[in-house]
Symmetry: C2
Subunit: 160 residues, 2 copies
């Protein structure tokens, strides 16, 4: 098979939204932790980057600052995250998970992984490997612009 970019684009545009719909429903759905996909991603980022600023999270997720500010309002209100002023630069805000936030994140992750894993068992091992490789190939293509820029600067400082 010789897949042109145009053909692949067509396929991606058709399949990706369906996939996301299924993931969203699972995450927000009945059992589990009832978080939206963006909330889940924000919580995951905070788990890996304790004390991150609002700008850090927004850049990573690819949201504007006001959008992320509002999203964090929801998480703070539900006591899943803690928001404090940075002592050194009082314009900044430092964000971290609460224990409850950590638990909810893990529950959401477990339930969504279980759902996806179940669905993916319908593929052959070879197909699963193909999907894995495809995702790994796609990952760097869709970083948020700001994040790609940060990465570029970093690799400029420490050239490979």
């Amino acid at each position: 098979m010789n897949a042109t970019p145009e053909q692949v684009a067509c396929e991606v545009l058709d399949v990706a939204p369906q996939m996301m719909r299924a993931i969203r429903e699972q995450m927000r759905g009945h059992r589990a932790a009832e978080v939206s996909v963006p909330q889940f991603r924000a919580l995951g980022f905070l788990e890996a980057h304790e004390g991150a600023s609002l700008t850090d999270v927004a850049d990573h997720i690819g949201l504007t600052l006001p959008s992320m500010s509002k999203l964090m309002d929801g998480l703070v209100e539900r006591k899943l995250a803690k928001r404090e002023f940075d002592a050194l630069d009082r314009r900044r805000v430092t964000l971290e998970l609460t224990p409850r936030g950590r638990a909810v994140l893990q529950a959401a992750r477990d339930s969504t992984h279980a759902y996806l894993a179940e669905v993916l068992t319908r593929l052959s091992p070879a197909e699963r490997t193909t999907v894995m490789q495809a995702m790994q190939a796609l990952r760097p293509l869709f970083k948020s612009e700001r994040e790609a820029q940060i990465e570029a600067e970093r690799s400029h400082d420490e050239p490979a």
Copy 2:
């Protein structure tokens, strides 16, 4: 490589939202046709299924009837779709694209395909083929439940 369902799930959960964010931004963005992803999908379905009912579209896209009704409000208001009562069963509604809707759909499709194709040129031909195969493998896994059910009934009537 031997990818377990769990590993693939993890990868999918990380990459799919980023991909969708990029697609959404492109579609709603500056130039082109300014439609949301769900609107785009609804228009695409109507192009292929002229005279479809609201339920048909909702099932395909995976939205509830009220959600789809509201989405169609927007399309009708913008004169991208036409909504009429079915003469035979006056509970039903028949939907179709207007010429303008057709043009907007095509513009959105062109611009998004162009964007994705451009991004995908950064992959090697082999990687693109992998992505293509992955999407084809994933497609049947994420059909909306209602649609899968319809398909099951159809293949029951006409067994392969």
